[in-house]
């Protein structure tokens, strides 16, 4: 019997936050996949744009700025409660998490309501022409991400009130905020593509 224990790991922690943990890497992988989808969808938008002289084509009005801009404000503002909840999670402060998660959820809900108005103010339908198809797809993709993360946040919020709880769940709350940052950051270039690109001819 030559195998002898040389490293005793029994005192090491049983969960971890951020890039130490497995789930963070899984989340990062999802972001890389989805980020690439967004980049390629934007590529498709500009590829179609390259085929026509004026943009939007056929003298259509570009999307109205109002709701898109309000929503960008809502999204940027939502970074703060998410960051605050993230910090609460890392401090394992259940009390503050129970305040923070519902606030994050309220921001997501507000955003989704305004998103409905955004679709209505695009001034084009998805089946009118290829430009409409591209704009609806970009906005639709982002909305799917928001809706998914909103459900995710809601489930976590309920769990934080009802349990069963263990330390690992704090890491989940932190990773949830991490994903939300991605959804917010990806929106900034998308706002540029959807709202500003049609105004720069």
């Amino acid at each position: 019997m030559s195998a002898e224990p040389v490293i005793d790991v029994s005192r090491l922690p049983t969960y971890a936050f951020g890039k130490q943990s497995l789930m963070w890497w899984g989340t990062l992988g999802i972001m890389a996949i989805e980020g690439t989808v967004f980049v390629l969808a934007a590529f498709a938008y500009f590829y179609i744009r390259g085929n026509v002289g004026s943009w939007p084509p056929g003298g259509l009005k570009p999307p109205d700025l109002l709701y898109g801009t309000i929503n960008t404000g809502v999204l940027l503002a939502s970074l703060w409660p998410n960051w605050w909840t993230d910090r609460a999670a890392k401090a394992r402060d259940l009390h503050r998490i129970r305040i923070g998660l519902p606030v994050c959820l309220a921001f997501a809900a507000a955003f989704l309501v305004f998103r409905g108005f955004e679709f209505a103010a695009l001034n084009i339908r998805w089946d009118t022409n290829a430009y409409g198809s591209a704009v609806w797809t970009l906005l639709g993709l982002h909305t799917v991400h928001l809706a998914t993360d909103a459900v995710d946040t809601a489930v976590l919020a309920v769990l934080m009130f009802t349990g069963p709880l263990e330390g690992k769940r704090y890491a989940d709350v932190s990773d949830n905020a991490f994903y939300w940052y991605f959804v917010v950051l990806i929106w900034i270039p998308l706002y540029g593509v959807i709202y500003l690109a049609p105004r720069l001819n």
């Binding site: 029994s10 049983t14 998805w126």
Partner: protein, 644 residues
């Protein structure tokens, strides 16, 4: 450099500690019976299942190929009609690329990577179970459509406008598009699991420089999946939307563009070739090292070459579009990149030759398949360089020359190493050796049959025979070479039958050969063959890339991992120092339920867009059920919890 003496891995599997082993057995085992079969999260069971399923699709795709060869064996043949022939070549390509090649490479990774890096299960084991189910359902859906005579018929790259709403009537192209969606979801999930496993669950001491080349290859493959598959996600989704809800992405009359399809598809489609090829390179390295009795020459060069191949693989896609009106300056760039990618492959070939040259090669079946790679892939690579030339490519575009090229690259570059890998790792999976005589028959029939089948196609292509025609008139003079190709295909079929017979016979009656029959050096051989449910006990610590060759006695080990929960050690990214322990989830029915719900959504969306809306409710419910922690399990974990 002299060869090193392998250590006896049985030193490493101590016979004692039986109480501890029993507890581990209980903790990590899969429940018995059908329930266990449906709920298992063991990467070895899922990996085996993945391999067997992908092999069945390989057989299905092979039968379709045989039907095509029979149809083309003589001019003016009436065995298959044009419509069925269209479905068959589409099904053959789609099956081989999406249901066989990519899944089986991932499957090998699912089985081998956790063992090679010395951990007890793959990261996200339930996601792993889910990825198998979703892959299975996608394949079953495609074949159900085919058997109902509504299989796709527009080629494996489904070009618009042929596949668009105007010409591709019915639901055929939609079945193709959704098959792609199923396999993408599965592939992306596996890619994330493999990267996380290699980055964070390596054995203590396995710094990035000591990661085995096959594990590196699997990581590069996974990164390519992550960045390439979104191209085809977007392509197949926009295609279905054009067909179902009236978007105009590919409709030139409303500002869309058919070439956009080709860009999106080949942005995925070319990297796809390397997604298949790169794991095969890793298998080559494993087999060559073991059978040369020395580590692969130039480990760092090999890793850099794999990464370089992965990166350059993304800069080639337009060379599939040389026959379109892409600007010439753009085409030139892709010509250069297409030639450039030969360099990292050549570097690896030289390193392998150096390894074989300075080692003591043992010519067993796995090595034969590997040596065939050199011959066939070099020929395929040379025609690849020819096709990188715009003028030559334009001349032979859509002819059998391309068919010959792609089969030389894919079969020579991936399927031959894969068969070598089957022979090499079969004793790991079953504890028994495949028969060597049958192996040699398998190899020679395949090698001769392959060259007979595909070499004449170069000539047929140069003579102008287009691909995807169901027959040709006698006056073209293509009959003789086509008959030769069909005879070759028959030999390949015979060789595959020999392989199946060999596997069926030897899985029960093959020679029992102990834990490390090839005296290999990497960690997957440091445990019993077949491995126990918990893979390793105790968990090893390593000090070099071929740990079993580097110490005459047993490896140092880790102590203190729980034997009553499914705990794995998480290590740091670069140096693989112990970081923390994490409990992986156990068997569950939720991955299957989630996969069923998602499959219903995907299949439904072929027929109505509302399937996406209503179908998302059961999907969300299943995913929440999957996530929601169980009270008893949580309490057990809290009892053993050590906060960071």
């Amino acid at each position: 450099m002299s060869a090193r003496q392998p250590m006896d891995p049985t030193n490493f599997e101590p016979l004692g500690h039986s109480a501890e082993r029993e507890r581990l057995e209980q903790t990590w085992s899969t429940p018995p019976g059908i329930y266990g079969w449906l709920t298992t999260v063991d990467h070895k069971l899922i990996g085996k299942r993945f391999i067997v399923t992908a092999f069945f699709f390989f057989l299905a795709g092979g039968i379709l190929a045989m039907l095509m060869r029979l149809q083309l064996a003589q001019p003016d043949n009436r065995l298959l009609g044009p419509d069925l022939y269209n479905q068959i070549f589409t099904m053959h390509g789609t099956t081989m690329m999406f249901l066989f090649a990519v899944p089986i490479m991932e499957a090998m990774g699912v089985y081998l990577v956790p063992l090679m890096v010395g951990t007890r299960n793959i990261a996200f084991p339930r996601l792993n179970a889910f990825s198998y189910w979703i892959y299975l359902f996608g394949g079953l859906m495609l074949y159900s459509a085919f058997l109902l005579n509504i299989g796709p018929d527009v080629g494996w790259f489904s070009y618009v406008p042929l596949a668009g709403p105007e010409y591709g009537t019915g639901k055929r192209a939609d079945f193709w598009a959704q098959t792609i969606t199923f396999t993408e979801v599965s592939a992306l999930a596996v890619a994330v699991e493999i990267i996380t496993t290699v980055f964070k669950q390596r054995a203590v001491g396995m710094s990035l420089g000591r990661v085995p080349l096959l594990a590196w290859a699997m990581v590069v493959m996974s990164f390519m999946i992550i960045f390439a598959m979104p191209g085809v996600i977007l392509a197949s989704t926009t295609l279905i939307m054009d067909r179902l809800v009236g978007t105009h992405f590919f409709n030139p009359a409303e500002g869309g563009d058919a070439l956009l399809w080709q860009h999106l598809f080949w942005f995925f489609g070319h990297p796809e070739v390397y997604i298949i090829f790169i794991p095969a390179l890793g298998m080559m390295s494993s087999i060559i090292a073991t059978f040369s009795r020395r580590p692969v020459f130039g480990h760092a060069v090999m890793v850099s070459a794999l990464v370089a191949t992965g990166v350059i693989g993304f800069m080639l896609w337009v060379h599939h579009m040389f026959a379109t009106m892409v600007p010439n300056a753009g085409k030139m760039f892709f010509t250069v990149a297409s030639m450039l990618i030969a360099l990292p492959t050549a570097l690896q070939v030289y390193c392998w030759i150096a390894t074989l040259w300075t080692g003591r090669p043992v010519f067993k079946t796995p090595l034969l398949f590997v040596l065939a790679f050199f011959f066939i892939l070099v020929l395929g690579g040379l025609t690849g360089l020819m096709l990188a030339s715009i003028s030559l490519d334009t001349q032979v575009h859509d002819t059998f020359f391309v068919v010959a090229h792609l089969h030389y690259v894919l079969i020579g570059g991936a399927v031959f190493p894969l068969f070598g890998a089957f022979y090499y790792w079969f004793p790991k999976i079953t504890g028994r050796l495949l028969n060597e005589t049958a192996g040699r028959w398998n190899f020679w029939l395949f090698f001769i049959g392959f060259n007979l089948a595909f070499f004449p196609m170069h000539q047929l292509g140069l003579e102008g025979m287009p691909r995807r025609v169901y027959t040709y008139p006698e006056a073209m003079g293509w009959g003789g070479l086509n008959l030769l190709a069909t005879i070759g295909a028959g030999l390949i079929a015979a060789s595959v039958l020999v392989f199946i017979g060999n596997v069926l016979w030897c899985r029960r009656r093959g020679a029992l050969v102990g834990n490390n029959p090839w005296s290999a050096g990497t960690l997957e051989w440091a445990t019993t063959s077949p491995p126990p449910d918990y893979n390793f006990h105790p968990v090893p610590v390593v000090a070099g890339p071929e740990p079993l060759w580097e110490r005459a006695t047993g490896l140092p080990v880790v102590a203190g991992l729980s034997d009553t929960t499914r705990e794995v050690l998480v290590t740091t990214l670069i140096e693989a120092k112990p970081d923390h322990r994490e409990e992986l989830p156990g068997p569950s029915l939720w991955p299957l339920i989630s996969a069923l719900a998602l499959a219903a959504l995907f299949v439904g969306s072929i027929f109505t867009p509302w399937a996406v809306v209503w179908g998302s409710i059961p999907v969300a419910a299943a995913l929440i059920g999957w996530f929601w922690p169980k009270k008893r399990e949580t309490e057990e974990e809290v009892a053993e919890e050590v906060p960071p």
